[in-house]
């Protein structure tokens, strides 16, 4: 029935093969065409299949495309099988749609690069693996995509491998992700051990069945373990505490890559995974709480680091870490659809922000330091307006996209049915983080686009608006950043705007069938308090007020008193300033806590165990011994016949003596 789903990953794969194998000889226009068209075709197929999905009855909205049996060992069977349902439908549209826009943008951004074909080959490969991740109908296909996007990410971070720090950043991303993937793999093993399958169609119904039959308690240790192990994988891929450290360094890659992989799509894979496993997480409230708490801590922590970064992309990187935290708060407090909602809106506005920053960097001739910028608004009006819209969206100003998604998450955290008190704490951290987000994002806008230009005269001459291939994606993404939130207007506002025919919450209604079992369990086991509309309105107002406060503060410090206040504050709070400026020394702490011990342990294994014990004693030792012995014994063979004659005689005499004496 949906036997064309495989086309979605197939097109980028073909693009990857053509660009990867022949790209060097094809010339740039041809490479761009293959690269963009393959993803565009995937987007088209995704749209078509999504359309078909919409035609189905809401309760049975699933398109399944089983390609072949991958492995069958006894009772263990894994199919290469693709699933398009509401959840993967939204994801695949975001991935291929935003991916397509960023491919087009890249043709402008990378047009002077000599490894143009390599770039597009990697980018197509990334889209292929991302489609596998999203569309996989079991955890193993998802894991293949999961690992594949990690590889693509590694290759693209280190794309300009001639620079040592780029290569190091790529390696760091790869190694940190490996730690997370190890957890993910263990989670899968445990899942197979518990449920005997890795397919979504087996695991979730089985878990529900076992729960309803009373074989599986709420918070059963094995469920908590599975969920936490999977979440370890998510912390790696989606840059949460403690494995977030790779993402800021990943900005070493080309800016469109940062937009596509390290903001809009790949890093949200963890959120998608948790939302996909919603039944498991709902059955393990403790694990969900851990997810939500770590997410809230990450959201706040990364936001504070963002305050003092001077590299425009680093600010956006920490902002991404922080926003990913919000998504995990959503899926952690069992508001799965809200997490996916924020994932979607974030993909729009963060991709837009990154592409705008790319446009700025392009104009600045590769300079990323905001201290050298300023006053760019006049020179690059399109970039300025689109970035301002995206910034308003991320800051949570209604009616832009970020407001609806973030506010839904915060409201659902406030009304956390499993742990009401913890929910309030998470809500508080989230709201505080939202204020900080507004502050540092507007600091970015003000330092980049307002005031006077602080760069070199040569840079000033070079400043220009980017070509249409770059600005058109910006405009599309900015429009989506404004309107994307209207898909998920809260019931409260929907009612208030129109009493007689309330504006429906389209996305929640659409996604609901995927999460309905979880909703049922939560309703059964959680403590549902009823909060008044008044409270919801006031919390909404509060978060808008916090965001406006952050903007006002940024305006005060970075526009009105830019010449003296930032420096004075830095002097006054020198210790805090240093702490935050150096990102809480987390990299250094990790270096001394993990990297150095492992380094020395590896050195020990190499020098002592391998080189000394195995090579010298174990392998060369016997050889040396045999050699020494044979040097001694080979003296006998001096080549003189007479010596041999003497030995013969001696032997004869000895034998004679022996036999005579014996007798």
């Amino acid at each position: 029935m949906a036997d064309y789903l495989y086309l979605i990953p197939l097109f980028p794969l073909i693009g990857f093969l053509i660009n990867g194998l022949l790209g060097k000889k094809m010339g740039k226009p041809m490479v761009s065409m293959v690269g963009c068209l393959s993803v565009g075709a995937a987007f088209l197929v995704a749209l078509l299949s999504f359309n078909e999905l919409l035609k189905l009855d809401p309760e049975h909205r699933q398109l399944i495309n089983t390609l072949w049996t991958w492995m069958a060992v006894g009772a263990f069977q894994v199919d290469v099988s693709l699933l398009l349902d509401q959840l993967s439908g939204v994801m695949i549209l975001v991935v291929t749609g935003v991916g397509f826009l960023i491919h087009i943008y890249s043709t402008g951004y990378m047009h002077e690069d000599e490894s143009y074909w390599r770039y597009f080959a990697y980018l197509n490969m990334f889209v292929f693996f991302m489609c596998c991740l999203v569309l996989g109908a079991n955890y193993l296909v998802m894991f293949v995509g999961w690992e594949g996007v990690g590889l693509a990410s590694y290759l693209l971070i280190g794309f300009w491998y001639q620079g040592m720090e780029n290569a190091v950043a790529g390696k760091k991303a790869f190694v940190v992700n490996r730690i997370g993937d190890f957890g993910f793999a263990l989670g899968m093993f445990l899942m197979f051990w518990t449920f005997g399958s890795l397919s979504y169609f087996d695991v979730f119904p089985k878990a529900l069945h076992m729960f309803e039959q009373g074989h599986l308690m709420l918070n059963a240790p094995v469920m908590v373990a599975i969920c936490l192990l999977l979440f370890v994988g998510a912390t790696g891929k989606s840059a949460q505490i403690p494995l977030y450290v790779w993402l800021p360094d990943a900005m070493a890659g080309p800016t469109p890559v940062s937009a596509l992989i390290h903001a809009a799509t790949m890093v949200t894979a963890g959120v998608y995974m948790v939302a996909r496993s919603n039944v498991l997480y709902t059955l393990a409230p403790t694990a969900s709480l851990v997810v939500a708490l770590i997410a809230a801590a990450t959201a706040l922590f990364a936001a504070t680091i963002g305050i003092l970064q001077n590299d425009i992309k680093k600010v956006l990187a920490y902002s991404t870490v922080s926003q990913l935290g919000y998504m995990f708060i959503g899926v952690g407090v069992t508001a799965y659809w809200a997490g996916i909602f924020h994932l979607m809106t974030h993909a729009f506005f963060k991709a837009c922000l990154f592409l705008c920053s790319g446009s700025v960097i392009h104009a600045m001739g590769g300079d990323q330091d905001m201290r050298n910028m300023g006053g760019l608004a006049k020179k690059m009006p399109i970039t300025y307006v689109t970035m301002l819209l995206a910034t308003l969206a991320i800051a949570g100003i209604p009616p832009l996209a970020g407001f609806f998604s973030k506010d839904e998450i915060l409201w659902r955290a406030f009304t956390y049915p499993y742990f009401p008190v913890m929910g309030k704490i998470i809500w508080f951290m989230g709201t505080l983080g939202a204020g900080i987000t507004a502050f540092y994002m507007f600091r970015l806008i003000f330092m980049t686009f307002h005031g006077e230009f602080r760069g070199t005269p040569e840079q000033a001459r070079h400043l220009h608006e980017s070509p249409p291939s770059m600005t058109v994606p910006l405009i599309i993404l900015a429009v989506l950043s404004v309107t994307g939130g209207w898909l998920g207007i809260p019931h409260l506002i929907g009612h208030a705007l129109n009493h007689h025919a309330p504006i429906p919450n389209l996305l929640e209604t659409f996604l609901n069938p995927v999460f309905e079992h979880s909703e049922r369990i939560v309703a059964l086991k959680g403590k549902i308090y009823h909060y008044s509309h008044w409270l919801e309105w006031s919390l909404m107002g509060l978060s808008v007020a916090v965001a406006l406060g952050g903007i006002a503060m940024a305006f005060h410090i970075y526009i009105r008193r830019y010449h003296e206040l930032p420096a004075r504050l830095a002097r006054k709070y020198a210790i805090h300033y240093q702490l935050v400026y150096n990102k809480y020394y987390v990299d250094e702490i990790y270096y001394y806590l993990f990297v150095l011990p492992i380094y020395y342990f590896s050195l020990f294994l190499w020098k002592i165990v391998d080189a000394l014990c195995i090579d010298r004693v174990g392998v060369n030792g016997p050889a040396w011994l045999v050699r020494r012995i044979s040097v001694g014994t080979s003296l006998i063979h001096d080549g003189y016949m007479q010596t041999y004659g003497a030995y013969m005689l001696l032997g004869l005499v000895a034998m004679l003596a022996f036999f005579l004496g014996y007798r």
Partner: protein, 104 residues
């Protein structure tokens, strides 16, 4: 036992003495020709023993065997000397210390 009487034991003693002298010659001499002669000495010690036993046991087989041995030895000597001459032609020398090209 009369000291003037030559008994079998005297022959055996003489034979062993000759054999040992020959062996010693083979082991310590460096000249290939002298080694060759020492080997002849050892062989003759054995022949002497055979003749002595043949006499004392009144059995002619031993003496017949000695005649055969001499016949064969004559051929063997011819071959041995031929090898020696060939060697001498090659390295202008009959010192066996030079004959060590087979050393490992």
């Amino acid at each position: 036992m009369d000291i003037t009487t030559v008994t079998l034991n005297h022959y055996i003693a003489l034979s062993v003495l000759l054999f040992c002298l020959g062996t010693l010659g083979v082991l310590v001499r460096r000249n290939a020709l002298l080694i060759f002669m020492s080997i002849e000495l050892m062989m003759n010690a054995v022949n002497l023993m055979l003749v002595a036993f043949s006499h004392y046991k009144a059995d002619l087989a031993g003496q017949v065997m000695v005649l055969f041995i001499y016949a064969v030895a004559a051929g063997e000597v011819a071959i041995g000397l031929a090898i020696l001459i060939a060697l001498f032609r090659h390295i202008k020398n009959v010192d066996i210390n030079n004959f060590n090209i087979m050393k490992g």
